[in-house]
Symmetry: C2
Subunit: 342 residues, 2 copies
Amino acid sequence: MRATGVRELLRLGANESPFGPSPRAIAAMSSQLERLAWYGDPESLDLRDALAQKHACDPEQICIGSGIDDVMGLAVRAFVAPGSLVLTTRGTYPTLNYHAIGYGGTLAFADYRPDGTPDLDALLEIARGRRPSVVYLANPDNPSGRFLPAAEVARFYQALPHDSLLLLDEAYADFVGNADLLPPAFEDRLIRMRTFSKAYGMAGARIGYGLTSAANVRTFQKIRLQYGINRNAQVGALASLADAEFRDRVVAETARARADYYALAAELGCGYIESRTNFVCLDMQSAQRAVRVVNELLKRGVWIRKPGAPPLDRCIRVSVGTVPMRAAFARALRDVLAEVPA
Amino acid sequence: MRATGVRELLRLGANESPFGPSPRAIAAMSSQLERLAWYGDPESLDLRDALAQKHACDPEQICIGSGIDDVMGLAVRAFVAPGSLVLTTRGTYPTLNYHAIGYGGTLAFADYRPDGTPDLDALLEIARGRRPSVVYLANPDNPSGRFLPAAEVARFYQALPHDSLLLLDEAYADFVGNADLLPPAFEDRLIRMRTFSKAYGMAGARIGYGLTSAANVRTFQKIRLQYGINRNAQVGALASLADAEFRDRVVAETARARADYYALAAELGCGYIESRTNFVCLDMQSAQRAVRVVNELLKRGVWIRKPGAPPLDRCIRVSVGTVPMRAAFARALRDVLAEVPA
């Protein structure tokens, strides 16, 4: 915003929820602002109890972090020794890569399949040959929005070398629903990561968690910041969990928004990628055009982003907005595409 | 609280502010709860601008962290290689030690002087002999409350080996006032750490910062969590900085509270340590008695703590409370001391 001078952006670039936190979470956090003078519970006991109920597991199998980024940092610090290998998909959510490089790891990449799905076969082939310490998979994937069925992920996990740990980023899992997700599993070689940033609308609060074995959690407890979690983030997360109705409404409205974006793509003659998340990739046919479209939208006060690596780099990625935000985006995109030739 | 079954504690054990956050900070955070759906600014630009004004420095000389603990973690990660030495005072604020051990460092300790002041001569002798990567000094010190004059700290810093970095924990600096503090200095070998947890009453928000060279800040920017800071913590910190009147009232009321604790000590025939912080150490004459007093107070719903290492382990440490909290503490301590023989 400082760079462009635009002070009021239509924020559709960071997959934040346009529906905000649950009103119950806001009420709970509001009532606790005075108590921000107190440190939060360093063990997040109440929140872990509530999450243990949600995931039918033991609180000792849950590690709270200040967002999935924090949990990933703990996993890399604990399991990636200097010189050891981290395997991921080129162009997927990049934060793991920063952690891996920061702790002296080496990166190996598989490419997306041509349709923008993470290529489990290619990942598996590299993993078998090079035996990485950590393998990263985002499911649903960001930035493609693609979702791999639970059975495929389960087969992939079982086929990995037994000294590789699967870091499964499920930031967008709440948009998928339990029936389609990998069944609960709390094992040393598997860390599943969830967040309150997306469906729960609390990205700014910085709170997420890892689901894994109690042994892994004990390791993380030794190295995490003891008082790392904002007290009001704990309060808001706890209240959010209790408001299933709000979350269901967000998930339903997000599905409607995706359908609106698909319809817009059809109207404008663009391809799109079917998404199980709160964002959609629209195909601009070339990376060059996608960059121009992003820049022209920004001039009109619409902030979106685009994937950086092939084959997705010919797409723009737009986050789900409210009905008026979607309408404003549609107007701006129509204008821009009329000016930016294919 | 789970362990004792006591649900309502008089919290005087964590040096939290009993005066809460500034009403302006609460109003600002309250108005921004809806926007917790948005990520905070990963660069904390507005907050760093405001802090740069406060400290008459460049925003590039400021690194925001989720509390001083976070900033210390960054410093240790950046400057403590496995096997290298970290020098501190035995029994002072321990979080640096956890970071140092976690990153493979080795600890060396100087003892407090008999009066509970960090022993700069002893630290210097060890530093000259063993050339630590990092030397830690809390000033004012926790848990003693002692404050070393700026001139002594400056001499100490200058006398350290030139490959040692001084990590100066100034969590309680706001209770001291600028006139008595080390003058501004933003050098590679010096990291000064400040927090919104104490005088600003925002411990639960997790926000603090380091003041150092721009080169050090660039290093920290590479390894810190990109979106690690809670958005509302940024909002509240910014509003707190603008409310100097509130902070001055907190500082003045904290001084009155210390005087009340000194008077209570005199009434009960205990020694005490003069403090420049929001807590006071009261001398219970033996470590054993101090432990008993802490436990007996807890049974009465009063939560305080005690230092763990000599010579301070014969003390209890009580945080500043409001007038009614001080009165409740005084009543409880009178009762307990009547029962626990010297």
